[in-house]
Structures are given as C-alpha cells and as structure tokens.
Symmetry: C2
Subunit: 207 residues, 2 copies
DNA sequence: AAGTGTGAAAAGTTTCACAGCG
DNA sequence: CGCTGTGAAACTTTTCACACTT
C-alpha cells in the first residue's frame, strides 16, 4: 500500500531498467544481480536496489532478481500495460520526423493523430497518420479521450496551443518548443530542449 | 577567478534564462527584476538570484538586472561566442529530421557534416549538408577538430560508433539512441530518450 | 559465499529570510 | 522602499556499509 510519491528521477530510471531487462530476457538470462543490472543501466548498485525496493521485495539474496518477474513489475509500475494514445501538434520538420520515428510505437505509445495549421505543407512530408487542422484539436481529443500530447509548434504559438490542449483534457505534454508553458497544477510538462542540451554539452567540454 | 564547477542543472537554467532575456531585449526592456525573470523562466526567485550570482554581481539593488549586460554574461558563460561545429551520425528518420530542423543553427551550433552507413538511403531524405559514409568519420573529425556529435544510430550500433567518435577526439555526445554508452571520464554524454520522456509523463497523469 | 534490503552518512539542491545597497 | 546577494535551514538524492537471507 505504498502511498509514497515515487520521485520523478526514479521513474526515469525505471524506464532504463526496463529496457536493459528486456535485452537480458532476449538473451535468456533468468536472473540478474543488482551490480550487473546497475552497470548496464549506468547507475550505482545501491541506487538500483533502493529503486527496485520501491516495487516491493523481488530479489533473492545470494542470487539476484528474476528477470521476467521484474519486467512485469516495472511494466505495471510504469502503467504500460495498454497502448496509450498520443496526439502530436505541429507537423513541421521536427514534428513530422517524430511521426516517422518508430521509437514511440515500440514503447507502448500510439500516435493516433497529428495536427497542423497548414495540412497541405504537412501532408507533403509524407505522413501516414491521420492529419487534421488545428481547429479540430479540441473535438478530437475530447472524443478520443486522449491524455498525452507531443508539442512541436514554434515557440510563439506554444502557449496558445497548450491552452487548447489543457482545455480539451490533455494531462501530459512533451514540449519540444523552447517555451516555458504555464499550466494548471494537474497537468505535467516534460521539456525536451535540444538546443539547451547541446549548449550544456558544449559547456562541459574543454577547448 | 571562480574555479567552482558550476552544477549541470545551473547550466541548463542558464540556457533558459538566456532565451527569456532575449525576448525581453526584443521588447526593449532595459532591466528586469529577479522575480519577473524567475516567473518567465519557471523557477523561484532566490534560485534565480543564486544562479545569476555565479556569473558575478550584475544586479543593482532596488532595480534589478540590466538585460543586455546579463545576456552577454550568459553568452560568455555558455561559451557561445563562436559557432561550434557539430557532426551528426545516423541520418535515418530522426537524424535526417534533426538536420532539417533549424533549432541548432539558431543557437550557435553548425552541423557541418552527417554520416551514415547507407548514404544512398540517407541522401534520398533530401539532406543539404555534406553526407559521408561512416568510414570517413574519424578522418573528418580529426581534420576539422570537431568536439561535439549528435548520435542517432540504432541502439545496437551506438557503442561501436561512440568508440570511434571518442577515438577521433569527440568530447561531447548528444545521444538519441536508448543505449547507455560507456565512455572515458573526459567525455560527456547527454541522453535524450524520447520514449522515456513519454513513459515518465504517462506515469504522472491520472487515469 | 553471493547478493539483497536498509538505516545512517554524505552530498547536492532548493527555499527561506534578512542584512544591506542604491 | 525595492530588490539583490548570501548565509543558514530544509529538503532531496546518492552513496556507504553491513546485518541478514538463501
């Protein structure tokens, strides 16, 4: 009955562990020790044990963790049991690339529709997913009970679109625009700012 | 003479402040208070003051910070004065999209070359930047003294390519593949895992 | 003997609160 | 008086170290 709020960072690491475990399962490993899995995931072994302990006591002392069981526990923790529908707004360069990218589908997310103010320009980019004009955003999201959105519009439109999304019932936004979004407290935003990432790297290299 | 190591998180926030200040400059604001800038950047005002204080004492008590001066100080801190060359490896769906995406160029980075094992497939995606086969990686990087790389190859090739990059003298890698890279301590990796970001969002929304 | 689970220590980060400057 | 700069407090996250189980 853990009511504890599971830190965000732990959830990120769960995603990593999940992927590492899948590789181990493919290679027919039945168990894995904290130190081995930690190495694979790039974290320290006590941290891994602490993290896993949030899920309950799955390990066997002297032996390690059962790979398949842990995978299930993590899938449940990540609430990945069913395919989650996602909409994408802004099918420009970056947005249309994300649509073609298969990475989301593999991990339990289905991009069910894309929206753009200019569907002709967007259509020319060879998109296979249903493509709508921005005006249809609200009705689609409400009708299909979508909770997650990927936002790839230019920074100056980001807040306006966000307001629409929130209004329509979106609760999680993956924001690729470099804008800081104002949102109600029940909505979560994860920021992916590619320029900041490069800037950051750039800072830490010498020369 | 600050020798202090400037936490990674602070550098990320610097990027955000930098963008917010640019907007303020465009709108002809000459000064800005910590609380205003903090609101725009989505952080708390003492945190902003602490962060800015790493750069020196730029503020005027009772008034705030001079926008233009702060921008210069941040640009210098982020070592953004000159265009930094970057190479991109793996011009598949995601990679070729990033090449078309203008966001990097705007922020002081120039993608000078792209590499792929299959240049014909990659060329068909309409790339304008010089495109080379993977074999030429090492010589290009060495010859052009490139220090930053964007890695978009499938996970199973990520470590191999990374070894080549490091060998060639790359010191910072922006890794879009969901692989954990083993690297020497003088190299920095920033991970951008889109599936994990969605998983994470998904966890925090109810329902 | 190998390896988990966990309290306690350490390190890192954010927020508070206020002295003091312009 | 408004707002910065900063020590100290509060909180969070990571690492250590070891009792304890299989």
């Amino acid at each position: 009955m853990e009511k504890s709020p599971l830190p965000k960072k732990v959830i990120y690491r769960f995603s990593t562990y999940y992927r590492c475990l899948q590789r181990l399962a493919e290679n027919k490993h039945e168990t894995v020790s904290s130190s081995t899995l930690a190495k694979a995931a790039g974290v320290n072994s006590s941290q891994l044990r602490k993290d896993i302990a949030y899920l309950g006591q799955w390990g066997t002392r002297g032996l390690g963790y059962p790979v398949v069981t842990l995978i299930s526990a993590l899938r449940e923790a990540l609430r990945q049991e069913k395919l989650r529908p996602v909409v994408l707004v802004g099918a420009g360069n970056l947005g249309s690339a994300l649509l073609r990218y298969q990475g989301f589908q593999k991990e339990g997310f289905e991009v069910v529709a894309a929206f753009d103010s200019d569907i002709h320009a967007a259509a020319s980019r060879g998109i296979k997913i249903p493509l709508y004009r921005d005006e249809e955003l609200t009705s689609f999201i409400t009708a299909n009970n979508v909770k997650l959105a990927i936002l790839c519009v230019p920074a100056e439109f980001a807040q306006g679109v966000t307001n629409q999304l929130v209004q329509a019932g979106i609760q999680g936004i993956l924001n690729f625009s470099p804008a800081i979004l104002e949102i109600p407290t029940n909505v979560v935003v994860n920021q992916v700012d590619l320029a900041s990432e490069l800037e950051n790297l750039s800072y830490f290299i010498r020369g």
